[in-house]
């Protein structure tokens, strides 16, 4: 179980996360929605220990993650702003991650092939990032996170810039990984995709979280909840 307790974070006095507590059960997937600036990315970065300047604690299997370094956190973070090597190919990026995780070569190549197939990236395996479209870069970003040897995946806007076919490919990959017991925490504005891949949903509003089963939510309901925080 991944647990956050009393997370409080402010930016120059503006509280974005106001003593948030929640328990994420392993093997499930959670959507995170909220208006722009609601604190979704901040929340994900706090989980990953990329932001440490906050109050409250994070526990994984009842063990505090708070003193741990970001590089030791056993979770994969798929950021909305990927950092790629301009002169390494798509395949080389994935090889680097597999090698740094000490995955044996045969298994690494197998994993890479599987992920290429799932995300329809086969034809781009020897391309450099500069030659790729926004959508393909986003899929490479997702592939780089998914190829990792971990069971908890934190994703920030994974469906952004993807066309409907690519969205479906990503949804299928997430669902496949879910069947193998992996956990996902996904921040997104794409409510249709969240409905396809998530079990539960957290709505961030005015620094607080509202918890819903995904089956309870409709697009209209979420729009109303988020809309209320604009004071319209």
């Amino acid at each position: 179980m991944l647990e956050v307790r009393d997370i409080l974070k402010d930016y120059g006095g503006r509280v974005v996360l106001d003593k948030i507590s929640f328990e994420f059960y392993l093997g499930k997937s959670y959507g995170l929605v909220g208006k722009n600036g609601a604190g979704k990315t901040t929340f994900l970065k706090i989980l990953m220990r990329l932001i440490r300047d906050h109050q409250g604690d994070i526990f994984l299997h009842n063990k505090s993650l708070t003193p741990l370094d970001y590089l030791k956190i056993p979770m994969a973070f798929i950021s909305d702003t990927p950092s790629l090597y301009s002169d390494l190919t798509v395949k080389e990026h994935l090889l680097l991650i597999c090698r740094s995780q000490k995955i044996a070569k045969i298994e690494a190549l197998q994993r890479i092939d599987e992920i290429f197939e799932a995300l329809k990236l086969e034809q781009y395996r020897n391309y450099f990032p500069d030659a790729l479209s926004k959508g393909t870069l986003q899929r490479l970003n997702i592939a780089m996170g998914m190829v990792r040897d971990t069971s908890i995946f934190i994703m920030d806007e994974p469906f952004a810039a993807l066309d409907p076919v690519q969205v479906l490919a990503v949804e299928n990959l997430i669902n496949l990984k879910k069947q193998n017991g992996n956990t996902f925490i996904i921040s997104s504005h794409d409510l249709d995709s969240l409905v396809e891949v998530c079990d539960e949903c957290l709505v961030l509003r005015d620094g607080k979280t509202l918890h819903y089963q995904i089956s309870e939510l409709t697009k209209e309901k979420i729009t109303t909840i988020i809309g209320d925080s604009y004071g319209d």
Partner: protein, 407 residues
């Protein structure tokens, strides 16, 4: 695991360099020419240093001190870590610590090796300065790991200046060892600021390789401390009066880089004060004024460059470079008043007329350099650059020429 990350990092670097060379073939010749020239000049330079060792010891350590103070005063960690190391978690914490440590002392170590190879004896003062340089690099990184930036900055600056004044290799080594231990025992790093910085820096590097100046400018702007709100309403207040309107437009924009401006004033102050300790060396004032001009030119470029790029990218700014010069000259001269006064009062060895000429010419050069799009405009800017540096470097240049002729 770390070796793999380094391997792929260097593979990327090699390919990047090849790409850069292919794109800009002239650069290849320039690099080759400069390398051969530098190698052929090594022995004459070594001769001059050997002959005037005490002078080089004084100004070399002085320049190192100014450089270290400037590094500590800025907001950046100085030591760069490729963002990909962090984003793909291809390395562990121990590697990052080692990487920062090695990069911190690499420059000083390199200078030390060159001096050894060229058979030049290193004076105590210069050794202290080299240790201070490594120490300052570590301090710059460490500054991002503590919560009170101002307090740590003050403490680090005091330590560095104290070591410089005491001029003791033992003290400098002791403080460096303490700093290394303090850094290595950390169980985790704070990524709040450095992750953003390295991400932006990686983008800037890519912009340089691809000649994408708009990208470089965007990154440079994002590297400044985040701007949240502005309380200034000058533009609305002075809308009707063109002179005041454009004057306050520039003044409002200066608030964005106010921290850099304060740092620049501090560096100016140190540059003005330090030559007083070496009254016998007349040309040291020239070195000081050169540093001041470079720092202030950087501030003016930060004000002009983003606007010039916006204009190039289609932002509606219907002014000719001449009109822009009229609008910007007065506000830009205003920020140069403090350095002008300081250098006039303290830098006894530098001609007052030259100082006034430098500070009146600098804003013109910056506007022409950044906004001119024609080759004639650029030539004028380079000509002004030449005049500026001749004025700054006059006495030092004379000294070097006479030294070379003497040998």
């Amino acid at each position: 695991m770390a070796i793999e990350a380094l391997k792929y990092h260097w593979l990327n670097r090699v390919r990047q360099s090849i790409r850069l060379m292919k794109k800009n073939f002239l650069l290849l010749f320039a690099v080759a020419f400069f390398s051969v020239f530098l190698l052929s000049m090594l022995e004459p330079i070594a001769g001059v240093i050997r002959e005037h060792n005490t002078v080089f010891e004084k100004w070399g350590s002085f320049i190192f001190l100014i450089y270290c103070i400037a590094k500590i005063m800025q907001d950046y960690p100085t030591i760069n870590i490729p963002i990909q190391f962090l984003s793909v978690k291809a390395v562990n914490l121990g590697f990052i610590k080692g990487y920062v440590f090695v990069k911190s002392i690499l420059f000083s170590l390199g200078i030390f090796m060159v001096f050894m190879l060229m058979d030049i004896s290193l004076s105590k003062t210069l050794v202290v300065a080299l240790i201070i340089n490594g120490l300052a690099n570590l301090m710059c990184f460490y500054k991002t790991q503590v919560s009170s930036l101002l307090r740590s900055q003050t403490i680090f600056l005091s330590i560095i200046i104290l070591i410089y004044l005491v001029d003791s290799v033992a003290l400098a080594s002791l403080v460096l060892a303490a700093m290394i231990i303090l850094f290595l025992v950390r169980k985790s790093l704070k990524y709040d600021d450095i992750y953003k910085y390295y991400y932006a820096y990686g983008g800037m590097l890519e912009g340089i390789v691809s000649n994408d100046f708009a990208r470089i400018s965007t990154v440079q702007s994002s590297l400044s401390k985040s701007k949240v709100k502005s309380k200034f309403a000058f533009l609305e207040k002075f809308y009707e009066n063109a002179v005041f309107f454009y004057y306050f437009k520039e003044i409002s924009r200066m608030t964005v880089c106010i921290r850099s401006l304060i740092n620049a004033y501090f560096v100016t102050f140190v540059c003005c004060i330090a030559p007083l300790f070496y009254g016998g060396i007349a040309w040291l004032g020239g070195v000081a004024i050169l540093v001041i001009v470079l720092v202030m030119d950087n501030i003016l470029t930060r004000l002009n460059k983003p606007e010039a790029i916006n204009k190039k990218n289609g932002f509606y700014l219907p002014f000719t470079p001449y009109q822009l010069l009229i609008q910007k000259y007065l506000p830009h001269v205003t920020i140069l008043i403090i350095p002008l006064l300081m250098s006039t009062v303290f830098l006894a060895g530098v001609s007052r007329l030259a100082l006034v000429a430098i500070f009146l010419l600098l804003p013109v050069k910056s506007v022409v350099m950044n906004f001119s799009t024609t080759w004639r405009g650029k030539m004028v800017a380079y000509l002004m650059d030449g005049i500026l540096f001749s004025l700054c470097f006059g006495e030092l240049f004379n000294y070097l020429i006479s030294s070379v002729i003497g040998t």
